[in-house]
């Protein structure tokens, strides 16, 4: 209960200007910890999630369908063929700099690929993976 106003405050303070990947990770970690005491994010779980195949959408069974096997590489939209810049912060410094943008694409991509919203823990792991992968 106490974590919710904290998350709201963080989000509000982050809303208007560019942020660092650490701050964005912190938002999701705070949210995940409020649901699961002692939560610590894991780049390894994030990577497993990135590669996991879901039986929801045969045009895009996994995150890798558009973002390729490595977030360090440029990807390609599975339906339209449009190129997509790398997701890893090491390869693309613009990533994980806008909390609203990150949240928007988790919303879209999780719905399309997984068939449901991603949990705060999954998002925390995923952004940890994107920040650390080299």
């Amino acid at each position: 209960m106490r974590a919710i106003p904290a998350v709201a405050l963080l989000l509000a303070s982050l809303a208007c200007h560019a942020e660092t990947p650490q701050q964005i990770r912190q938002i999701y970690v705070a949210e995940a910890s409020s649901q699961q005491a002692g939560f610590t994010p894991s780049a390894k779980r994030g990577e497993a999630f990135f590669r996991q195949r879901f039986a929801n959408n045969d045009k895009m069974p996994a995150c890798t369908s558009c973002h390729t096997d490595s977030p360090l590489n440029a990807g390609e939209h599975a339906v339209t063929g449009k190129s997509i810049k790398p997701l890893a912060v090491a390869a693309n410094p613009n990533r994980l700099s806008d909390p609203a943008k990150v949240e928007k694409w988790f919303g879209r991509n999780c719905k399309e690929v997984v068939g449901r919203a991603c949990t705060p823990a999954e998002k925390a792991d995923f952004v940890t993976f994107l920040s650390e992968v080299r």
């Binding site: 045009k59 339906v79 339209t80 063929g81 449009k82 997509i84 719905k111």
Partner: protein, 153 residues
């Protein structure tokens, strides 16, 4: 002055020379941020106003994708697209859901392309204008600038 008039006359005399479809200079930034992630930001002249209205009303299920924007942004983008839309008689109907690639104009401009190219792995989809028109995002569709060699004349 006379030159301007001549250019205007020429322009209206050869509407078929539609190889340049520049993005109107007053395009709101919301249009580029919201509409150019999954494909190029299609130029408004590629659909008629009624079809843009239909498309903007269905962003929640946009060809299987979620392309929703907040209400204010939706109004801004919609107004821009409708203001600069193509003329109904020149573009033709786009079907439902509206597709540029189903308009009479698109079909006429591409009727010499063998069917197999639309399924070519380099192309993927007819909506992937950039696969063949490398400067499509800049509004350049000239038949002299086609990146698939076999389709060059």
């Amino acid at each position: 002055m006379k030159r301007l008039l001549l250019i205007a006359l020429l322009g209206s005399a050869f509407p078929a020379l539609a190889d340049r479809l520049p993005m109107p200079a007053n395009a709101p930034t919301s249009f580029t941020t919201e509409c150019s992630s999954c494909h190029i930001a299609y130029q408004p002249a590629l659909l008629q106003a009624a079809d843009w209205r239909k498309l903007m009303a269905g962003l929640g299920d946009h060809f299987g994708s979620d392309a929703t924007v907040d209400q204010k942004t939706g109004q801004e983008i919609g107004a821009f697209l409708e203001r600069h839309a193509g003329s109904a008689s020149r573009v033709g109907n786009a079907g439902n859901p509206p597709r540029i690639t189903q308009t009479a104009r698109f079909i006429r401009k591409h009727d010499e392309i063998p069917a197999k190219y639309w399924r070519d792995p380099r192309v993927k989809s007819a909506a992937n204008c950039e696969a063949c028109h490398p400067d499509a995002a800049k509004g350049s569709y000239s038949e002299h600038d086609i990146s698939i060699r076999e389709l060059r004349e």
